[in-house]
């Protein structure tokens, strides 16, 4: 379907989309859907919602492709990360606050005990730890550790300076390290 466009870079594809090319749009969707789904999933913690957020972001691009201006924004992906993240954060605001799983209280009363939790329980605990981080710390962790973006690119996406981003990463990891040490002392992960 997109044979004529697959060799084009993102900026050229957007120019074609701005002229109404659905094939160019198909190319960019096929090229980037998984990448943006990953960050959406990491932020909303739910497959269906993550898919909805990615779909909504792409549809906005299709309806108003002129919103991305290559002369103002450095890279298409940087700008589109912002679109997806913004949608996800809006969705999260509508959700109820996160509470720790009951298992954690049990573990906390007996630090160091040799409790073997199932992998699913451990994953649930880890999700809980991450959900409890402030939104900006979560973002910094997701973009750098899970997405593998450079500090500079992650800082551009969040809209902060690199030093501030590094501070967010340090705080996020320090908190997580402490919680892992405390609640998952002898787990399988």
């Amino acid at each position: 379907m997109d044979k004529g466009f697959s060799h084009l870079d993102d900026a050229s594809l957007i120019q074609n989309i701005q002229q109404g090319s659905h094939e160019a749009f198909a190319t960019i969707v096929n090229r980037h859907t998984n990448r943006f789904y990953r960050i959406a999933y990491r932020l909303v913690f739910n497959k269906d919602e993550a898919e909805d957020m990615v779909q909504e972001a792409f549809l906005r691009l299709w309806e108003r492709p002129q919103l991305w201006n290559p002369s103002r924004q450095a890279k298409f992906t940087t700008w589109f990360y912002k679109v997806v993240i913004s949608l996800c954060l809006d969705l999260n605001k509508k959700k109820r606050p996160v509470h720790l799983p009951e298992d954690m209280e049990l573990l906390d009363r007996h630090p160091g005990q040799d409790v073997l939790l199932g992998i699913h329980q451990e994953q649930a605990l880890l999700e809980g730890f991450i959900k409890q981080l402030p939104a900006r710390q979560q973002l910094a962790l997701n973009l750098t550790f899970y997405e593998g973006l450079s500090n500079q690119e992650a800082a551009d996406i969040i809209g902060i300076k690199v030093k501030a981003l590094q501070s967010l990463i340090m705080r996020a990891k320090t908190t997580l390290k402490e919680k892992v040490r405390r609640y998952l002392p002898g787990g399988s992960i």
Partner: protein
Amino acid sequence: MTMKLKQFKENLLVYGSNVHEWPEDIRQAGLKAMETSSELRTLLAEEERLERVLKTRKYEEPSSDLGERILSASLSRRKRGRRGLSGFFSELVWEFGLPKPALTAFSVSLVLVLILGFAIGFADLTGSVSTEGSQTDLQEFLYYEGEVL
């Protein structure tokens, strides 16, 4: 250049446990510091453990048809977005898969035809029907009809 404990700890958090991938300007200092300090090696081991834990985080792959769904939804979105006369003609051209130049040529032709039509309509004064004439014709018609009836 030597790297102190605090710096090493911060770099571990920011750049991760693979010291070989740290930025060039601090990489050698990091490796050297690690070689000479068991305390730093312990910190490194802690960081490696944290990263192992973080990598076990739950993740679900997207549906295989997500891309197709997005493309399908985009077609209906654009249809809804088009409104008015220009939207109608755009839609018409879109449905038949015509390229953008064809749409432009079609629109320009339509506008020219409309302008020509108005010009002819306003310029042809002889073709206009006066009220008086109309009444005469009507009277003649009624009279004629009356004659017949």
